[in-house]
């Protein structure tokens, strides 16, 4: 067993991760434990054309000690899960091409049901708001949030979950020790302590373009369903949705303005049969009916908040659409000083929130 794990991790360290190659090796050698006994001529037979690959494999076989040391060095900082391990994430194991090796910083908690939330990196204010709000509410139902720790929607999802002290997993498209983008450093550290950071790439691997679509299959593979908040017609988020469908996961989508470029992808998904999500309960109820979660009521319920008459007037305007202070002054006829202070109070009560450009929108 240990021999097998070691073989898999060593191969992973050398960048031999394709399921095709690994299957070929397994079939030829019988199991990965016997990998160590392969000779150069065997490899010649296995990979007749790939000289480079052969060289790397021979390097592993000839220096087992070196790789053993490397692996134990990594294991002192990160947990390594191989596909042969008992505690390898169950749902991920079910997909078509699960990663053979996973590096994890933090804790995997198999008892927490997971929902993937993904969306555009260059998200609109609406997308970011929805991401933060839905993830904040979903964790209140005891659901964990999986996302990609990128800019925009991803970051907002993680932040929302962290704000509500929920469990959240970030799946990276680079080595587990690389913080990319670096502006998410604080979030990365918080998640590493309260949630988990996960990657199929060995530490030290720098981000590459094609890693990101591949990482999306892990995001969807870990979870029970994939919730897409914002996506253009051609986007990485739709790739994740496709993976989800192939893997037989539920696809949820947030509806948006039909003219807005970033909502076209999600609206199209809804048209094609994805489940439209208008409130967190839409997701939660389904998980409940599948007996994945045991209760469909919130762990914590926000108190009902009383509003004064003036606050209610302003609130009514904000509920209609995102609105600027100047417009509120225009519509209500109240002096701007008064509007300013009403807005601050509503903001502190958590009823509204500012968008970039200082528009205000209600938090339902």
């Amino acid at each position: 067993m240990d021999q097998q794990r070691m073989a898999l991790i060593s191969l992973n360290l050398e960048g031999i991760t394709a399921a095709k190659d690994l299957l070929a090796i397994e079939n030829y050698a019988g199991n990965f434990g016997d990998f160590w006994h392969l000779s150069a001529s065997c490899l010649q037979e296995l990979f007749p054309l790939a000289t480079e690959k052969r060289k790397r494999i021979i390097k592993i076989i000839n220096n087992p000690k070196l790789y053993f040391d490397k692996v134990s060095a990594i294991e002192s900082n990160y947990a390594i899960y191989t596909i042969l391990d008992q505690d390898y994430p169950f749902y991920l194991h079910q997909i078509y091409d699960p990663p053979y090796v996973l590096y994890v910083k933090g804790n995997l908690k198999p008892e927490i049901p997971l929902i993937a939330m993904v969306g555009a990196r260059k998200a609109s204010a609406y997308g970011k708001w929805a991401a933060g709000e839905f993830s904040r509410q979903l964790v209140q139902f005891g659901v964990g949030i999986v996302s990609g720790l990128a800019y925009g929607v991803d970051a907002a999802c993680h932040q929302g979950a962290l704000d509500a002290d929920g469990y959240t997993i970030g799946v990276l498209g680079c080595g587990i020790d690389q913080i990319y983008p670096s502006s998410n450093r604080k979030m990365y550290l918080e998640m590493a302590s309260s949630g988990a950071i996960l990657s199929e790439y060995p530490p030290g691997t720098s981000p590459q373009k094609h890693f990101f679509p591949a990482r999306n299959r892990i995001i969807s593979g870990l979870s029970h369903g994939v919730f897409i908040l914002e996506a253009g017609l051609k986007s990485g988020s739709l790739i994740t949705a496709e993976f989800a469908m192939e893997q037989g996961k539920e696809v949820y989508a947030l509806p948006g303005h039909i003219n807005h470029g970033l909502s076209q992808g999600t609206n199209r998904l809804i048209q094609d049969g994805a489940k439209m999500v208008l409130k967190p309960e839409d997701i939660v109820d389904e998980l409940y009916s599948k007996q994945i979660i045991m209760q469909n009521h919130r762990v914590s319920v926000p108190d009902h908040i009383r509003l004064s008459k003036k606050e209610a007037t302003v609130m009514a305007l904000i509920r209609e659409k995102a609105i600027s202070i100047d417009e509120m002054v225009f519509h209500t006829g109240m002096p701007v000083s008064e509007i300013n202070s009403l807005i601050s109070v509503l903001e502190l009560k958590g009823l509204i929130q500012p968008l970039p450009g200082k528009l205000f929108t209600s938090c339902r």
Partner: protein, 510 residues
Amino acid sequence: MLAKVVTASLIGLQVVKIDVEVDTANGLPAVNIVGLPDAAVKESRDRVRAAIDNSDMEFPMQRVTVNLAPADSRKEGTHFDLPIAMAVLLSTEQANGNPLKDTVIIGELSLDGTVMGVNGVLPMMLEMKARGYQRMILPWDNHQEAMLVEGIHCYFVTHLKELVTDLAKGIQFELTMGMKIDEEDQASLAEDFCEISGQDSLKRAMEIVAAGSHNLMMVGPPGSGKTMAARRLPGILPELGFEESMEVAAIYSAAGLLTKDVHSLKTRPFRAPHHTASAVSLTGGGRVPRPGEISLSHHGVLFLDELPEFDKRTLEILRQPLEDGHVTVSRSAGTFSFPARFMMIGAMNPCPCGYYGFDEKGQHCHCAPYQVQRYAHRISGPLMDRVDLFCEARRIEYEDLTTTKTAESSATIRKRVMKARAFQRERYGMENIKNAYLSPSQIKQYCQLESDAAKLMETAFDKMKLSARAYHRMMKVSRTIADMDLSEVIEEKHLAEALQFRTNQHFQRS
């Protein structure tokens, strides 16, 4: 024979009393000027000779030595012509020297003997008056400027010959009256806030800024009226007091920018350097330093449009003057301190394309997220910390343009600002403290929160994740808002309003 007259020199804003001593002695005809003169002063030898010859008098064909005492300080400028000419005439006994005792002489000569105006008359007069000089002979061109100073016996000269004739006949000095401050005379403003319809929150921010002398940062897409609003800010600021206007006029005089129009001395300066400005043009510089933009906006407004486009180093030098209210420039000619107590008004787009967060009318932001962040971060944290209010400027809606509601005029707003400032003055006693300049310990002393407001602050501190600096800024701004309400304690509504002017999210650094 030896003759001596008094004049002054101006380097930076430092005025030194100078004795011009002229000795004529027999020997080969020559003129030597000693006492560290710079090129313009050395050339005065030729001007003086021609001017005297062309004024029906005689330049001595003797050995003439001119000493500018104290001899160890550098002299620059052309205003030594007239004193040197007079000293030469006295030493050759072509003029009556008795009335020139204890009289300061300043003026530049043209070759035909005409006396021309010079820069820096005002600061020189002020300093010489402080040293006890009562009488001065000045160029007629500087008449308006000189009249600003009170209680000096002045003689305004147009031609060298005229001066000599009057000295012989018995010279008549004119007593200056000082600047008249008449309340009625409020020049109608070319740019008035009533021309801006809508934009209520921006105007409100302007009013608070004017009342508390705060710094302001406006963020908005192109064409949202940031510049338009900033240009109207001086119109709602109270007029300069006498002391203040003297300080300002002295700076402008030294920079050679003093206009003849006396009325303009009461309006606060408004400077808007282009974003290609160098660090030196802002602080002041040159071999012999001249005041820069920040000193020219002393007691007024320094408007920095397109703030992130400024050179980073240029912006950073604003940090110290914003704190201290003056700037110290060291050059080979010496170290000079210029006053620079200004309000900084910054304007910027939210992102390189200008539409991030403001994309309603078919205009969409097409910047990548990191571009937006990088754009905001071009302005350093320490500089941002010195900005008390942040305000978003939104493009005005069609409804605003067509509204029949007339906007308030600058005069109305100014009246409120004056009231709030008077209220502040009463509290602080001294003229010079404004809410914006409060130190943390003064904030503790003067900014008392009512119990509801204190509760609000506590929630806000947690929920809005305010930093300690942001806390102090909020206190100062809410102090001003309370002042505008003529309230000694800060109530909940004041603080709540101040919170709307806190730092925009994307300026916050993690």
